[in-house]
Amino acid sequence: MPDLEKRSDYILEMKDISKFFFGNRALENVHIEIEYGEVHALVGENGAGKSTLMKILSGAYSKDSGEIILDGAPADIATPQDSQTLGISIIYQEFNLIRGMSVSENMFLGREPRTMFGTIDSKRRNEEARKWLDRVSVKFKPTDLVQDLSSAQAQFVAIAQALSKGAKLIIMDEPTASLTTKETETLFDLIRDLKSQGISIIFISHHLDEIFEICDRVTVLRDGLYVDTSKVSDIDKDSLIRMMVGRELSNEFPPRMALPGEPLLEVKDMSRQDVLSDIRFHLRKGEILGIYGLVGSGRTELVRALYGADRRDNGDIALGGAPVEIRSPHDGIKHGFGFLPEERKLQGVILGMSVANNVTLAAMDKITRYLMIDEREELKNTEHFVHSLNIKTPSAHTVVQTLSGGNQQKVVVAKCIFTDAEILIFDEPTRGIDVGAKYEIYVLMNELTKSGKSIIMISSDLPEIIGMSDRVLVMWEGRITGEFDRAKTPLSQEAIMKAAAGEVAA
């Protein structure tokens, strides 16, 4: 219902929004203003606070402090229902649609039109759905099953659903992540159309080109803080990148002292259809090799294939010049790889097991005598790690679930070292860990390389990559698009970010 007399210039104002998780800053005094009928980009590195801000707006999180003003009036958003009633809709990356139901069933779930007998009036539901689907100009039928649609089509259903609920502000979180170029164009046409109908859109994307193509203004967040808002026409890509990464590197990182030795690992022609193509790189003894890339760039897939966790179509792996065969994590461990996975709680530790049981999980044979686990030997080894890695735990028998994230992560590190791994693969080693524990992990990494171990570290945190790596590989769409050696030139955030956005470094 368009107001003839606008009460404000903005459909949405979020003022001084702060949110802390267990004392860690997710957002602090962030503000954003959205005009009527504008497409507003929200950008920042992974972990900058974009998602948190949007979750507060959609009612999934509650804010610690701050104010939300919608259509000039203060809005109280406590639940997702509240935000929907106020005309805010969020289109998630993984669409909240039930795959086994039809398009119209999904669109009117929980608010189905009824017949006079109280049963669901499917005919009217399908007609209503058709009306909204026409508005987003799609061809498929309201009776089609969602599971038969492409992800682009599913996205259009989600948008049509949002419109049918009277959305005035639509949040799109990485809407193009799973779309082809052509589908992206169709989506952009729809966005322009919605804009002309006075609907505002918050557009979150890692693809900077898209922002320059479709958005009017852009707000940049960094480390949970507001950086700047600017008209897209007033800036260029380089200045946008600078705003995103502009944090100065302070002494959050211990100095790298270890000098990498001779080449240890050599990977050639590694590929996997649609995921990895023609990967080649090497790793030297005592080196920290950083791998940077945006979500979906194939960095995790690369190390998982190397470790034997995922299959690969091709790829020669050689250790010290001798080719090795790695087809399973068991092979990986046998050849001296240790893997600290991305999802600590789901892939790294067994939450219900004690510290000791977790530490020895990947090398139980080492402590087995006559078919029986030697618990004293286990305890002795675990206590050694608790001491040397400074794991803060009441005892070696404590269940890992009760430890903090940083200490859980150290347990995973201990697990890797206990297998006698020479090459440690750390996938997001400091994700979800507080600052102090992060520093301890960095110190630990330095010590490990000093003792001759080599580390491959994946991180979404650019300063971390630059602060810790001797050499950096950058990936984009399953390919290596850049290699930067600190010994040759100082690592530059802008250059790495460019390579991560797909611009192949010269």
């Binding site: 998780f21 994590p329 892939q347 067994i350």
Partner: protein, 336 residues
């Protein structure tokens, strides 16, 4: 930021709540709860005038352990299946099949008793190999896979003699289920051995650790270099092996191989595991708890018998005991 990950075992068992307890005691909390209930039952039965005298005899106690032995042995195996987050519904059918195999070997083929028993144990275990292979190599959930083998097993045991039992088994065979040494039933001795062996397997070996880990996170276990398929194979084979042992005891106890033996026993075995603190979602179960659960059910039946409660009422009563035991531990669902 996803701090509320699903944590199997934690919700129902209450294993992570209560920091005032040492980790070891915390871990055994549900077992301690079940043991308390069990002791309360024993105290009641020995104090209640109507049951006291007959209940408090050594003969009665040994008799109950003989009756309980079959369910308790199966429940030992079931503990592994439930711990990994699975289930095995085919145990009752395996009881019947292994009994029929033993009977057929002795009576039709005229094989010696020990050889017949070994063949019966192998034959029963093969069901577990099949269940394990389905669990390891396909995406068919264990519930469905073992539902299938449950039907196959039952059909096979009926097929042996066109639905008839195999009777007049050799006296030396019947001694396993009926006889005793120094007053202690052979069945009880086998039970004690199987408890110890299962406990050793679950709590002291690499295999047992892997089963536990599998119940929490298959991916963590796999990334730790353990073959998840091989672990699953062994779990289901062990469950079937336990069931086959129970089948041999059952057959010798009644002195005849019955094609309908063991029907419905899967429920008793599952009940023993959950009363003893096992979480049906996986990640939590212990042999000690399971045995307490099986004994609780056994002595409950014994007590009700001594009180002269009708067997039909007993079944209803048993159902409520299972519900109450798990409810007392897990509580109400969260209100939203």
């Amino acid at each position: 930021m996803a701090n509320n990950l699903p944590t199997p075992g934690a919700d129902e068992a209450g294993g992570i709540r209560g920091f005032w307890l040492s980790p070891k005691i915390q871990f055994y909390k549900p077992e301690i709860f079940a043991a308390t209930a069990f002791l309360a039952l024993l105290l009641f039965l020995s104090g209640y005038p109507k049951t006291s005298a007959s209940f408090l005899s050594a003969e009665n106690f040994l008799n109950v352990t003989r009756q309980v032995s079959m369910n308790a042995i199966i429940a030992c195996g079931m503990t592994f299946a439930i711990l990994m987050g699975g289930i095995d519904l085919s145990v009752g059918s395996v009881v019947a099949v292994s009994g029929m195999i033993a009977g057929d070997c002795m009576m039709r083929m005229g094989l010696p008793v020990p050889v017949s028993i070994i063949i019966a144990l192998i034959g029963g275990s093969l069901f577990g190999v099949f269940n394990g292979a389905v669990a390891a190599l396909t995406n068919v959930p264990p519930f469905i896979a073992t539902l299938g083998t449950m039907s196959v097993g039952r059909g096979l045991s009926l097929l042996f003699r066109a639905g008839y039992a195999i009777s007049d088994l050799p006296e030396s065979f019947n001694r396993i289920g009926q006889g005793d040494v120094f007053g202690i039933p052979y069945a009880t001795i086998i039970l004690v051995l199987m408890i110890f062996f299962s406990w050793f397997l679950l709590h002291k070996t690499v295999f047992g650790r892997s089963v536990f880990a599998l119940g929490w996170s298959k991916e963590t276990l796999r990334l730790s270099g353990v073959s998840v398929k091989w672990v699953k194979m062994r779990i289901f084979t062990y469950v079937a092996f336990c069931s086959a042992i129970a089948g041999v005891i059952m057959t010798s106890r009644v002195g005849s191989a019955q094609p309908m033996a063991g029907s419905g026993w899967e429920m008793d075995a599952i009940a023993a595991v959950v009363i003893g603190g096992g979480n049906i979602a996986g990640g939590r179960a212990t042999i000690i708890g399971t045995i307490i659960g099986a004994l609780l059910l056994g002595f409950l039946g014994n007590g009700l018998n001594l009180m002269g409660v009708s067997p039909y009422l007993q079944i209803i009563f048993k159902g409520f005991v299972i519900l109450a035991a798990v409810f007392a531990r897990s509580g109400w669902s969260e209100k939203r």
